[in-house]
């Protein structure tokens, strides 16, 4: 069975930010809870684009603040 979008998103976040997997919950804010800086958020968006083959324009990227935001955005794009 293939991994869910949520699991793949969380895996990318864990890899890129070097944080514990149990901290990467849907309500976690990249900057406030996971210690990301502005460059990290750009890198995460680029990583999501690569993993899921979607394009995330800047204005959409600005609304992706939490792990859950990312999952929802990608699910919507792939639906």
């Amino acid at each position: 069975m293939s991994e869910s979008i949520a699991d793949r998103v969380k895996k990318i976040v864990v890899e890129h930010l070097g944080v514990d997997a149990d901290k990467v919950v849907e309500s976690a804010s990249f900057i406030d809870d996971l210690g990301a800086d502005s460059l990290d958020t750009v890198e995460l968006v680029m990583a999501f684009e690569e993993e899921f083959g979607v394009e995330i324009p800047d204005d959409a990227a600005d609304t992706i603040l939490t792990v859950g935001d990312a999952i929802k955005y990608i699910e919507k794009q792939q639906a």
């Binding site: 800086d37 460059l39 890198e43 680029m46």
Partner: protein, 245 residues
């Protein structure tokens, strides 16, 4: 000599005088060196002379897809570029009022835009690896200006502003971005000067002589080293005191 053992470098314009000196110096420091240029035979000869740890990468930087391909090939075949030296440059001199669009565009495209594109492609993997050294070869005239070189001076000044911005953006990723600005350096270009021109130039250089490619390359080797880790957004002038900025 700075220890560059295990580093992977890409030097653009390595078929020219200064570029060759830079490639040789980084190679001597222990780095594996990707040699970019337009003249394949010159690059092959240089690679043969250096022996192991070289990769020949010819590309025409005036063609954008070729720049993208160069980045991809260098990154994959060298196994990650740690040291990027943007040295390649062209001139199309002429007095400003008679300068044609083509002369402006050609110089800006190779001397500035290709640097932007190549650096954009290679900086990101450097950031991911949390190490990188980007050295852009500017010029004294990018700071002082020079009659007959409005296009070249604009591009070379552009490199300095570009480097400062990028340096601020990626400093936290342990990637430094600096410039080296050579003055008059012995090369095929300066060999063409006549005695009178030469005399005038010498009069303006406190050292009373032209610099060598090695003297430029030494500044590059320093900026590429581990030791230069706290130096970013700077321009090192290698000009015999011709301009003290």
């Amino acid at each position: 000599m700075f220890d560059l053992e295990g580093r992977k470098a890409l030097v653009t314009g390595a078929s020219g005088g200064i570029g060759e000196a830079i490639a040789r110096m980084l190679h001597k420091g222990g780095a594996t060196v990707g040699l970019h240029g337009t003249r394949r035979e010159k690059l092959d000869a240089l690679a043969e002379d250096l022996g192991e740890r070289t990769l020949v990468l010819p590309a025409d930087l005036s063609e954008r897809p070729a720049v993208d391909r160069l980045a991809e090939t260098a990154e994959s075949e060298l196994g990650g570029v740690d040291l990027l030296v943007n040295n390649a440059g062209v001139t199309r001199d002429g007095l400003f009022v008679r300068m044609e669009d083509a002369a402006w565009d050609a110089v800006l495209e190779v001397d500035l835009t290709s640097v932007f594109r190549l650096t954009r492609a290679l900086a990101h993997p450097m950031m991911r690896r949390r190490f990188g050294r980007i050295v852009n070869i500017s010029s004294i005239v990018g700071v002082t200006g020079n009659p007959g070189q409005a296009n070249y001076c604009a591009a070379k000044a552009g490199l300095i502003g570009f480097s400062k911005s990028l340096a601020q953006e990626i400093a936290t990723r342990n990637v430094t971005v600096n410039c080296v600005a050579p003055g008059f350096i012995e090369s095929a270009m300066t060999d063409k000067l006549n005695e009178k021109q030469r005399g005038r130039i010498m009069g303006a250089i406190p050292m009373g002589r032209m610099g060598t490619g090695d003297e430029v390359a030494s500044a590059v080797a320093y900026l590429a080293s581990r030791e230069a880790g706290y130096v970013t957004g700077q321009t090192i002038h290698v000009n015999g005191g011709m301009a003290m900025i």
